[in-house]
């Protein structure tokens, strides 16, 4: 087996092009190492090698996000790396943001492992739930320390190995990884409770998340002219589940035409959802996806029209990120189809 192929992403400063005044430079692909890359190669020894470096100005990246990301990804892809290292960005905020964005895009879009490193107060740390981020010192003076921590991870990821949890591998906590602890869960719970009761320090195994919020859209002015769409996480599908939507941990959504459908019946629709008792929904799917009443509204002129398609998925055990990705996709379709309002039903 040859050496693990690494592509390195750096900004204008790390590449030695210049500081703030050169932050506008466009992405450039160079063979071999640039700047700090040499330190990584030293640490890799015979196991891995930086085959190319992508250099990009931080301002160019953040001001032309989609374009810059696509350009950088193309350059990285052309070298078919086994792993991509972005940064480390230390305390440089825009660089940190670029590193997080590049690492995430490389993993999601190219399917190649990628990670970065930065100081814990860098704004780019917001990516820690999405990509592996190694904590570093707050300036480039900490390069040696950063390389020592990052090089072994690059080798591991480059070999296609799975990383252990954050505290074992030394990256920032955020991505959830299973491992076998020394004590069973109930014993850990008793020990944690005893500490909590004594007022001693204890470490929760799952810190509560912050949930993000979206501002409400303005209300619909005139419902009698509005096109209203139905969406459900209750897994309603045409009988026989033609697209095989999974009962749990769904990886996709269903899009079904309901033109001319006035009522959902036992013979025509059912639920694919695996998290609740399916009997009632299978007998009458209107109990979850109320097509019958919506058709009445349409006839009575209470609403302009019912959108000709509905979207469906199973919320059960489906990861938030997954659901977010495909919801964004069908939300865009709804928008493009001129839908004015959505009724989303959940079980």
């Amino acid at each position: 087996m040859g050496k693990i192929k690494v592509v390195h992403y750096v900004n204008q400063f790390a590449a030695g092009i210049g500081g703030e005044e050169m932050a506008h430079v466009t992405p450039e692909l160079r063979d071999g190492t640039v700047g700090s890359g040499q330190a990584f190669n030293m640490a890799f020894g015979e196991e891995a090698e930086i085959v190319a470096t992508v250099v990009c100005g931080d301002n160019y990246f953040s001001e032309n996000l989609d374009k810059a990301k696509a350009e950088v990804l193309d350059m990285i892809k052309s070298k078919s790396p086994d792993v991509v290292i972005a940064g480390p960005a230390f305390n440089a905020g825009r660089y940190g943001f670029a590193c997080g964005t590049v690492a995430e895009a490389v993993e999601v879009e190219l399917g190649v492992p990628a990670f970065t490193g930065m100081f814990e107060e860098n704004a780019g740390v917001e990516f820690k739930g999405k990509v592996v981020i190694v904590p570093t010192k707050n300036s480039a003076a900490g390069m040696r320390d950063a390389v020592a921590k990052m090089a072994p991870l690059a080798i591991k990821l480059g070999k296609g190995e799975k990383l252990g949890p954050a505290f074992m591998e030394g990256y920032m906590p955020g991505i959830r990884v299973n491992f076998f602890d020394n004590e069973r869960g109930s014993k850990r719970a008793v020990d944690m409770l005893v500490k909590k009761l004594k007022g001693e320090e204890f470490v929760t195994e799952y810190p509560m998340p912050d949930f993000d919020r979206v501002e409400p859209n303005p209300a619909v002015k005139d419902l009698s002219k509005a096109k209203v769409a139905l969406v459900t996480s209750g897994g309603i599908v045409p009988k026989g589940n033609p697209d095989r939507i999974e009962s749990s941990s769904a990886s996709k959504y269903g899009e079904y035409v309901i033109d001319g459908v006035m009522d959902l019946t036992e013979a025509t629709y059912e639920t694919a959802h695996g998290g609740y008792d399916p009997v009632y929904a299978n007998l009458d799917a209107d109990r979850v996806l109320p097509v019958d009443v919506m058709r009445d509204y349409e006839k009575e002129g209470k609403i302009g029209s019912l959108h000709g398609k509905f979207y469906t998925t199973t919320g059960n055990g489906t990861s938030v990120a997954n659901s977010k990705a495909y919801s964004a996709e069908f939300a865009a379709k709804l928008k493009a189809d001129g839908v004015d309002a959505v009724i989303l039903t959940s079980t």
Binding site: V288, M294, D296, K302, I343, S346, T347
Partner: protein
């Protein structure tokens, strides 16, 4: 899911049984439903009665969609 629809610029009302989850995931217009296996129905009712019940929930949903809100709002009545 509700947030992505809202983010796309379409007002959305979430009809769901477990209102606290809806509040936690960040829905802005919420209408409480009947029960998890039958959010918009009640199998112990007759067919017509059940449809009337369903309609009353959807009336609330339409009201929610045509009401301006500034933050998370549960439409109980």
């Amino acid at each position: 899911m509700v947030k992505e629809i809202e983010r796309a610029g379409i007002p959305v009302v979430h009809i769901c049984t477990v209102v606290p989850i809806s509040l936690t995931v960040g829905a802005n217009r919420i209408v409480p439903a009947i029960a998890i296996p039958h959010p918009l129905g009640n199998p112990s009712l007759g067919k017509d009665e059940e449809k009337t019940l369903r309609r009353s929930l959807l009336d609330k949903a339409l009201k929610a969609l045509s009401t301006e809100v500034s933050g998370q709002t549960v439409f109980e009545n």
